[in-house]
């Protein structure tokens, strides 16, 4: 029996396909099976032993590389493996890539040991191997720990410390942002939302509602919402507490909408309810607890009523556009910039979260 079998290249040889199998948490034997099913034996006239030997070698290489991948910047100046830059980028990108289905499960949860222990449930639910779940979870945690303390734009920090491509860095930013603010995403009513839905919302929040959004030279962090802004949001209450203002707002919006939609009647009937819902959300955001419920609130207070009245996305867009703009015409309403900053994000989020 072959007791020892190694192959070391001056340039480290890595097969993308095998790397993916390793990342997916396959055992060596399972990986060999997958490769055989892929028809590689016929293609390359290889035998099972050759495949097994190759797979083992590569798995060993990946394992040795793994500790370097935990600090991607080290990969470029380590001496042990000679890996061409494009390969390094590939290794890093794939190592940090994650399954949306997995991220969706973990989103907003505390990245703690407790959560890690529950990963077998996640694994069972998502059909992703436990090994892969653990890697993805550890990646979340690692990225979180590093950028948590850093000043400056979140996405940029992630991209630079982990050498990730832009889109992936954005997704991580979303994960970090959700974990930091502990947004509730697990409620039944939110189940229909995908990770990408949330990621887009996170992007909106990061870009508009954090301190970094206003002034990115500030010595503050991108992962927390701008407290001052949240405080200011309370002022918006006037839109619903002042009866005149509310009526005026309603008539402006309705005038603009009349004849442009099939659900005008429903819009008119629901205006006050919807407006109260959105403004109340704004007013409560100063409480951390209510921040967590932000998404569930949006769904309950706005999306569900609209959906039950069979609004289309176009209707929602139309409504929110006029709703936002009309407020600026109101005589006694002074909080224009806060309103714009608030409604811009709300509109984007709702539109993304509104699945017809």
């Amino acid at each position: 029996s072959v007791e020892l079998d190694v192959f070391v290249g001056n340039t480290t040889i890595m097969d993308k396909e095998v790397y993916q199998l390793w990342l997916n948490g396959y055992t060596v034997n399972d990986a060999v099976k997958v490769r055989i099913d892929g028809g590689i034996m016929e293609e390359c006239e290889a035998s099972v032993e050759v495949l097994l030997s190759d797979t083992m070698d590569q798995y060993r290489t990946f394992q040795m590389c793994e500790r370097l991948l935990h600090h991607p910047t080290k990969l470029a100046n380590q001496l042990l493996f000679q890996i061409p830059p494009d390969r390094q980028a590939m290794l890093i990108e794939r190592y940090y890539a994650f399954d949306d289905a997995f991220a969706r499960e973990v989103l907003g949860k505390k990245l703690s040991k407790g959560t890690k222990k529950d990963l077998d449930d996640v694994s069972a639910k998502t059909n992703i191997t436990l090994k892969s779940c653990r890697r993805q979870f550890d990646n979340f945690k690692r990225v979180f720990k590093v950028v948590e303390e850093l000043k400056g734009p979140l996405v940029e920090n992630i991209r630079q410390h982990f050498l990730l491509p832009d889109q992936l860095a954005r997704d991580y930013a979303a994960v970090v942002f959700f974990a930091n603010n502990r947004f509730e995403t697990g409620k039944k009513k939110l189940q229909y939302l995908t990770f990408q839905d949330f990621a887009l919302c996170a992007g909106q929040l990061i870009n508009n509602w954090t301190l970094g959004a206003v002034d990115n030279m500030m010595e503050d962090m991108d992962v927390d919402l701008d407290k001052e802004f949240l405080q200011d949001l309370k002022e918006l209450k006037i839109l619903i507490t002042d009866k005149d203002l509310l009526d005026q707002h309603k008539s402006l919006v309705c005038t603009a909408l009349r004849g442009k939609t099939n659900v005008f009647t429903e819009m008119e009937a629901n205006f006050k309810n919807l407006s109260r819902g959105l403004v109340n959300i704004a007013a409560k955001l100063i409480n951390a607890k209510d921040v967590r419920d932000f998404f569930i609130d949006l769904v309950e207070k706005f999306i569900e009523p609209c959906r039950s009245d069979r609004w289309t996305s176009i209707d929602v867009n139309l409504y929110l556009t006029h709703y936002t703009n009309s407020a600026h015409i109101l005589d006694t309403f002074k909080h224009h910039s806060v309103w714009t900053r608030y409604m811009g994000v709300i509109k984007s989020c709702i539109l993304r979260m509104y699945h017809e």
Binding site: L4, G9, N10, A76, N77, L80, Q82, K151, G152
Partner: protein, 1056 residues
């Protein structure tokens, strides 16, 4: 005080955490040379310390400079207990002692610990100031250049080839000293590493002295080996070829070498053809012609069987007075060594007209006789006095004498492609030497030493016996005449021996190229295929593998048993080789290396070579099987089935390797004499079986087919084995030589690799057949794995496939392989023969012109074009050197660039101090902070030009673990060790300013395990030549680099 060594410790990075409490390390560094030690300050609480030390200066003798390594130890300071060692770096400063090699060692070097492996890196600067003038220089052997490369290194030309140099030093192995019982494994490993470093240095210095004595300035084909004799000691021995080399300093001659086509050819020829001093080649096709107008090629031949282990006696008592080397007296100590050196004066050297070179300046190798080899079995006894290694010396002398006598028998006067090796099992040691008998031109030889005419006249015996007869003049006329007449494409194939006095059975015919001289039917050699040789088709790796069981034994009985087995082993290997060669329709072997490894209960034989079809030699006949009992019908059928299979395989192989498509043969050869008979023979030999014999007989009078008699099961097995060699998959070629005939247009994509497999024989009672099968499968499966792993490089050729077998334990077989996969351009490869080659050459030259001009533009004073330079313009030399200087600086830039990038990365690393804003634009891994270092076992890098040799790399590492399982088992352990060795080689080359290692080899890989104790140990010895090469594509890229960067770095790096 002949020299001042200066070292500066700059910084460390990626250090391990030594203090668990703080997760940090308080590191400091000890710098030791000889008995002097300096220390840096402690750099507290950091994994990336910045010591930035002063220059530590050591004033030392140059003898010490040659022998001692600079030893750098990184430690963790501990206030209350002993400081913990983190690891060490040994720096061989030899490259700094030679004015033409490196000038500074500067860069990140891995910190190595024998138990933990690489633990971070350290940035150092090392320089040497030699106070001596040229005269002083000459008195020590500082300044002698060493090359592992077994040909004249590119960018040098050989003014003189002086001949064989050898030396060995012995010592007690620290692992076996009594003190080893009480010291830690780490201490023991380090003692061993250090000792071997010292011994290598001493050996190199001593060889250097011999070279000086001979009047040379370099050793080419330097081959150093270790014999771990266990209880009886440690032997470090080396052989090489002393030369006087001259740097080619004129730009044109180097610049016009196309790097696209087979480099060895192109580089060598302008050098030797045009510039070599001395007698012009009268026959000599002028250089441009040599570019292969002659495509035919004719061989000489043969394998000398008589060589094998005739030496069965056991010299338990050293024989003194063997040759003259053993004459050493009994004085102990250095005096003795000195004496030995003196007695082995130039005169005695001539007693061994051996050359470790495997390829030669054109016109140097006149004729090849065949392989000569000698083996002898010895019993090891304790080396009582390390300063008196004469026992070992005497052993080797015996062997060399034997080789010499074989050479004479072949009518030759020299051995080329010479090498020596050992295999040790307990107290039994097999010494082997082999080479290729040859006749060399006197052109590169010192007067009186190896002058051909001279030698022949002094030793009339060799030739006179045959001289009076028919072709009697051959001998003497050969010596003079050959040089004038023999066309380069086939001359070396012409037999050097007397036709009527052939020392072994062989069949001679007239050369198929020139039709004037006789050639053998088959030619075996240990050298590389001469670049000018005419070859039909491509070559391929051919291996013969053999296992033979033997009884366990002890002492003399055991040694005798082994001695008795050896001839059979060699015979069978030879038969296998011959069969496999014919099966591929080829007629010559190059790079033949036969390795015999001894274990307690078995002997392993592995012969590797590259088969080719030499156009000058007759086409090999087929293989015919003859049964002994023809009466039985089923048996007959069986035989004819097998015959059919064999014939099919031959036909397939001929197609696969492009062997002899007749029109190509004719066109290319332009052979004046058409040979219809040959062609028909070629066709028939693989078309039918039954009437083959008669037809062949008609065509050629004598036996042409190789008849295999199936008279016993062994033969059946042999034939079976013949047919089970799996063919190389499409897109792959393989060889164990430097050049693959028929492939020239390499791309720059190369992948060097090392692979090791250990097989455990589970069944204790295996038969020879069973063992053979296992061993063959082991080798075949390795090859299959390579083909699979390297499939992305196709079309590609695995070059310099070097298999090393060992029997590390009773039931273990270890095979280690180092090779390089080189991809080539398929379209051009299909273009046949010389025409394609020429085209690429021209193209390459053209490209080179452009680059040249481009580069010259960098120098303000050189505004003229290439024409000027090639006309040996007076300032050409200056320009060249400044051009090279530029490149050197660039090389530095690369390294220095890395330092810069790194430090910025460190600041950015998520450490507490990284509070500042982390948006930095310069952080991009694509900037490549670690310079790429290529490694190859070949002497060249395709598509590139070697512009400087920086010195020899000769490193020895031990790695040990007591947590084998935790490190991933034996495979995990060895995998990371080999990766670490590569990393250390690369780092040291980069620190010398180089970007590649050529002629790389792993000469030793001793692996021992004890899984029950969760332990394993491995020793690896690697060597090679550090070089700077410039690639065509890189030439442009680097010259575009801003000048400012260059100047900056040179200031920073070397200003001090």
């Amino acid at each position: 005080m002949p020299g001042k060594l200066k070292a500066k410790i700059v910084a460390g990075r990626h250090l391990p955490v030594m203090d668990r409490a703080s997760d940090l390390t308080d590191a400091f560094v000890e710098v030791k040379f000889g008995n002097t030690t300096f220390k840096t300050d402690v750099y507290p609480k950091s994994l990336n310390p910045q010591w930035n030390s002063e220059w530590f200066k050591f004033e030392v003798d140059d003898e010490d400079l040659q022998d001692e390594p600079l030893q750098i130890t990184v430690l963790d300071h501990d206030t209350y207990s002993a400081n913990d060692a983190i690891g060490k770096v040994y720096i061989d400063i030899d490259p700094l002692l030679c004015s033409e090699a490196a000038t500074v060692i500067s860069g990140w070097l891995p910190i190595y610990d024998t138990i933990h492996g690489i633990r971070g890196e350290i940035n150092v600067l090392v320089k040497v100031d030699l106070f001596n003038d040229l005269n002083r220089f000459r008195q020590s052997s500082c300044g002698i250049k060493f090359f592992c490369t077994t040909s004249v290194p590119r960018c040098y030309r050989a003014v003189m080839v002086h001949g064989f140099v050898e030396e060995l030093v012995v010592n007690e192995d620290p692992e076996y000293q009594w003190i080893d019982r009480i010291r830690t494994p780490r201490a023991s490993n380090e003692a061993r590493q250090r000792l071997i470093f010292l011994m290598s240095g001493e050996l190199q210095r001593k060889i250097g002295l011999k070279v000086l004595e001979m009047g040379g300035n370099a050793v080419v084909g330097y081959l150093q080996c270790f014999d771990l004799e266990g209880e009886s000691g440690l032997v470090v021995r080396a052989i090489g070829t002393a030369c006087t080399l001259e740097k080619i300093s004129t730009l044109p001659s180097t610049a016009t070498q196309p790097s696209n086509s087979s480099p060895s050819k192109d580089m060598k020829e302008p050098v030797f053809g045009e510039e070599a001093p001395g007698v012009p080649l009268s026959s000599g096709p002028p250089t441009p012609l040599r570019a292969q107008t002659f495509s035919s090629f004719s061989p000489s031949k043969s394998y000398s069987r008589q060589s094998s282990s005739s030496d069965t006696e056991l010299s338990l008592t050293p024989k003194t007075g063997m040759g003259s080397g053993g004459s050493a007296g009994k004085e102990a100590g250095p005096l003795k060594a000195l004496l030995r050196q003196q007695t082995q004066s130039a005169l005695e050297q001539r007693e061994y007209p051996f050359f470790t070179l495997t390829s030669f300046p054109s016109g140097f190798l006149l004729h090849v006789g065949g392989v000569v080899s000698a083996r002898s079995v010895k019993l090891l006894d304790r080396i009582h006095n390390p300063d008196e290694p004469e026992t070992r010396d005497a052993w080797w002398e015996e062997i060399r004498q034997e080789i010499k006598s074989h050479v004479k028998a072949l009518g030759c006067h020299a051995v080329v492609g010479y090498s020596e090796s050992t295999s040790i099992c307990e107290e039994v040691c097999i010494l082997s030497a082999s080479g290729t008998a040859a006749i060399l031109s006197s052109r590169f030889m010192q007067d009186g030493s190896l002058d051909v005419e001279h030698r022949l006249s002094r030793q009339p015996v060799v030739f006179t016996s045959g001289a009076d007869r028919v072709e009697g003049d051959m001998g003497s006329s050969a010596s003079l005449g050959f040089e004038e007449v023999a066309p380069p494409g086939c001359g070396f194939c012409h037999i050097p021996y007397d036709e009527l006095n052939i020392p072994f059975p062989a069949q001679l015919t007239y050369c198929y190229c020139c039709r004037r001289n006789k050639v053998p039917d088959v030619l075996f050699t240990t050298i590389d295929l001469p670049t000018e040789a005419n070859v039909t088709g491509k070559g391929c790796l051919i291996q013969a593998r053999l296992c033979r069981t033997k009884k366990k034994g002890q002492g003399e009985g055991n040694a005798t048993a082994i001695s008795n087995l050896l001839p059979f082993l060699e015979y069978e290997l030879h038969t296998q080789l011959m069969n496999k060669l014919k099966l591929r329709g080829m007629n010559a072997l190059f790079g033949l290396r036969i390795q015999i490894s001894v274990g307690e209960t078995m002997l392993l034989g592995l012969a590797s070579a590259t088969g080719v079809y030499l156009t000058a030699l007759p086409s090999p006949g087929g293989i015919q099987i003859a049964g002994k009992t023809p009466s039985d019908i089923t048996y007959e059928q069986h035989i004819s089935n097998m015959q059919k299979k064999i014939n099919d395989t031959i036909a397939k192989n001929k197609e696969l390797f492009d062997v002899n498509p007749p029109e190509v043969v004719e066109e290319i050869i332009g052979s004046p004499i058409p040979e219809p008979r040959q062609r028909s023979r070629l066709f028939r030999s693989h078309s039918e079986s039954s009437d083959e014999v008669s037809e062949l007989d008609l065509s050629h009078g004598k036996k042409d087919t190789f008849v295999l008699e199936i008279d016993d099961t062994d033969a059946v097995e042999d034939i079976h084995a013949l047919l089970t060699d799996s063919p190389t998959p499409p897109g792959f070629y393989s060889c164990n030589t430097e050049i693959m005939p028929g492939i020239q247009n390499w791309t720059s994509a190369i992948q060097m690799f090392t692979s090791v497999r250990v097989f455990r024989l589970n069944n204790a009672n295996l038969t020879n057949q069973g063992l053979n099968k296992i061993f063959t499968d082991l080798c075949e499966n390795l090859l299959k794995s390579f083909y699979f792993k390297l499939r992305s490089l196709t079309p590609c050729c695995l070059c310099h496939l070097n298999f090393t077998v060992a029997i590390p334990e009773d039931e273990l077989i270890q095979v280690a392989v180092t090779a390089v996969a080189m991809s080539f351009d398929k379209d051009q490869a299909l273009e046949n023969g010389r025409h394609g080659g020429e085209k690429t050459q021209i193209k390459a030259i053209h490209e080179n012109d452009e680059q040249l001009q481009f580069n010259l533009e960098l120098n303000p004073d050189s505004t003229k074009g290439l024409a000027d330079i090639s006309g040996s313009h007076p300032s050409a030399k200056d320009r060249c050197s400044s051009w090279i200087e530029q490149l050197r600086l660039k090389a530095h830039t690369m390294r220095r660039g890395s330092i810069k990038t790194t430090s910025s990365l460190e600041k950015n690393s998520p450490l507490p101090e990284g509070r500042s804003r982390s948006l930095r634009s310069n952080r991009s891994y694509s900037g490549g902070s670690v310079a790429v270092v290529k490694m190859t076992p070949l002497s060249f890098i395709p598509g590139a030009k070697i512009i400087k040799y920086l010195g020899i790399i000769n490193m020895f590492f031990i790695r040990e673990t007591t947590s084998l399982r935790e490190e991933g088992g034996v495979s995990g352990f060895l995998h990371s060790f080999i990766a670490e060795v590569f990393a250390m080689v690369r780092a040291h080359v980069a620190a010398l300013g180089g970007n590649a290692v050529v002629s790389y080899s792993m000469k030793e890989c001793v692996f021992m395990e004890n899984p029950n104790k969760n332990q394993a140990q491995c020793l690896i010895n690697v060597s090679g030549d550090a070089v700077i090469f410039v690639q065509e594509s890189e030439l442009e890229a680097t010259s575009v680099q801003p000048q400012s960067a260059t100047t900056q770095t040179s200031n920073g790096g070397e200003g001090t």
